[in-house]
Amino acid sequence: MWKWFHQLASPPHIYRLAGFWAPWMLALALIGVGVGLYGGLIKAPADYQQGDAFRIIYVHVPSAYLSLLGYVIMAVASVIGLIWRMKLAHAVAVSAAPIGASFTFLALATGSLWGKPMWGTWWEWSDPRMMTELILLFLYLGYMTLHSAIEDRTRADRAGAVLAIVGVVNVVIVHYSVEWWSSLHQGQTVMNEDAVMPASMLTPLLIMIVSFSLFFGAVLFARLRSEVLLRERNARWVKRLVTGDASSLSKGAQHA
C-alpha cells in the first residue's frame, strides 16, 4: 500500500503511467462518443414534448457532470497537496482546472442553446442550475487567475489549494441559496425530473457520460504530463528523456 502511494508521488512514474493510459482512454472515449451520438441523435425517438431539441442533453448532461467532478478533483488534489505536501497533487489540481472550466462553459452554452427553443430565452436568470454553473465558472476562473498571478510556483500551488478548499465549501452554500432564491421567483421548470426516461434515450446518455469522463481523464493525463515536465525540467530524468533514448527512462525513474 505505502509502496504504491510512494510510486504515485514519483513524477517519472506518473509521467510514464499517464503516457500509457492517455491514448487508450482517448481511443475509448472517441469510440464511446461515436456510439453515444449515434444512439442519441439517430436511434433515440424524439421527445413527445420537446421534439428533437431534447437531444442536446447528450452533450449537456455529461458536461454539467464533469464541471462538478472537475472541481471535486481539484479540491481533493488540493487537500492532498496541502496535508501531505505532495507536489504531484498540486500538478493534478492545476491540470484539472482549465478542463473543468471548459466543461462548465460547455454546460452553460448547451443549456443556453436548449433554453432558446424551450423557454424562449438564451438566458433564464431564475433557473438555479444555470446560476450555480455560472458561479462555478467564476470560481474556476478565480482559481486560475490567482494561480497565474503568483510568480513563485510553490506559493501559487498552495494559495490556489486554499482557495479551492474554501470554494468547495462555498459552492454547496451557493447551490442551496440559489435554489431557495429561485423558488421565490417561480422558476419555470420544463424538465420533469420524476419522469422515467425510456432505455432507448437513457442508454446513449449513460454511454456519453462514461465517454466524456474518459475524455476528461485523457486530457487530464496529457496536461499532467506536460505540467510534470515543466515542473521537473531541471531533474535528471527529464534531461535523460530529452537527450537520451527511451530505454534510459526506467533507469532515470529509479534514480529520481
Binding site: 458561479i135 498571478a149 503568483i150 506559493r155 494559495a159 470554494g167 462555498n170
Partner: protein
C-alpha cells in the same frame, strides 16, 4: 511544525512569552484601531464611493418613487458590498511591505487569534460605517422606516461575511501586484448567498412581513465565515511568506 530539533529549540524560547489568544486579539485590535484613526481618509473614501454609486441608479433607471422602492434594497446591498471591497487590498499589503507580516507569523503567538482581530478591525472600520450610511441612502430610496432595523442588521451580518472572505482573498494575494481586481473576482462569486439572503430580508421587511427566516440564514453564513475563515487566513498568510 517543529519536527526537526533546531526548530524545537527556538519554540522553547518563544513559548516563554506566549500570550493568551484573547490578549493577542485585544492587542491586535487596539493596534488596528489606532492605525485606522490615523488614516481617517482611507476609512471615509469607501463611504463616499457608496453614496456616489447609489446616486447613479436613480439617474440611470428612473427617479419614480415606485421604481426606487423596488430597486432600493438591491441597490443599497450591491453598492455597500462594492464599497466594502475597496479597503481589502490594503489589509495586508502595508504590513507585508514593512515586514510586520513576517513578525506576526514569527511571533509565536496564536496566528488565528491575530487573524480574527484583523477581520473584526476591518469590519469595525470598513463594514460598520457602511451600515450607518446605508440608513441615509435607504431613506432616499423611499424605504419604509420599519425596514431600517432589518436593513442595518442584515448589512452588519453580511458585511462581516464579506470582511472575513475578503481577508482570505487579501491574504492569498499578499505580494501580488495590483491585486484589487483579483480580490473582487475571488470574493464576489462567494458573496452570492449573502446577497440573496440580505436583499430578501430587506424586501420582506419593506413589505411589512416578518424577515426572520432570511436573517437567520444570513446569521448562519456569517457564523460559518467567522469560525472557518480565520483558519484559512492564517494558512494563506503562512503560505504567502514561505
Amino acid at each position: 511544525m517543529g519536527s526537526d530539533p533546531t526548530d524545537d529549540q527556538h519554540s522553547v524560547v518563544i513559548r516563554a512569552v506566549e500570550l493568551r489568544p484573547l490578549t493577542v486579539f485585544a492587542v491586535m485590535l487596539g493596534r488596528e484601531w489606532r492605525l485606522a484613526l490615523r488614516r481617517l481618509t482611507d476609512a471615509i473614501n469607501p463611504l463616499f464611493f457608496f453614496a456616489v454609486v447609489a446616486t447613479l441608479f436613480p439617474l440611470a433607471i428612473s427617479p419614480q418613487r415606485a421604481v426606487l422602492q423596488t430597486i432600493g434594497p438591491g441597490v443599497v446591498w450591491v453598492a455597500a458590498l462594492l464599497a466594502a471591497l475597496l479597503p481589502l487590498n490594503a489589509l495586508f499589503s502595508q504590513d507585508h511591505g514593512d515586514g510586520t507580516l513576517e513578525q506576526y507569523v514569527l511571533a509565536g503567538q496564536s496566528l488565528v487569534a491575530l487573524c480574527i482581530a484583523k477581520t473584526v478591525a476591518l469590519w469595525l472600520v470598513a463594514g460598520l460605517p457602511l451600515v450607518l450610511v446605508s440608513a441615509l441612502i435607504a431613506q432616499s430610496y423611499a424605504m419604509p422606516v420599519e425596514a431600517m432595523p432589518t436593513l442595518a442588521l442584515s448589512l452588519s451580518l453580511g458585511s462581516y461575511t464579506l470582511c472575513a472572505l475578503g481577508a482570505v482573498a487579501a491574504a492569498l494575494t499578499v505580494g501580488v501586484q495590483r491585486a484589487s481586481a483579483l480580490i473582487a473576482l475571488l470574493v464576489l462569486p462567494m458573496m452570492v448567498p449573502v446577497i440573496i439572503f440580505g436583499t430578501r430580508a430587506v424586501v420582506l421587511a419593506s413589505g411589512g412581513e416578518p424577515a426572520a427566516g432570511p436573517l437567520y440564514l444570513l446569521a448562519a453564513t456569517a457564523t460559518l465565515a467567522a469560525v472557518l475563515t480565520p483558519l484559512a487566513i492564517a494558512a494563506a498568510l503562512r503560505i504567502s511568506l514561505e
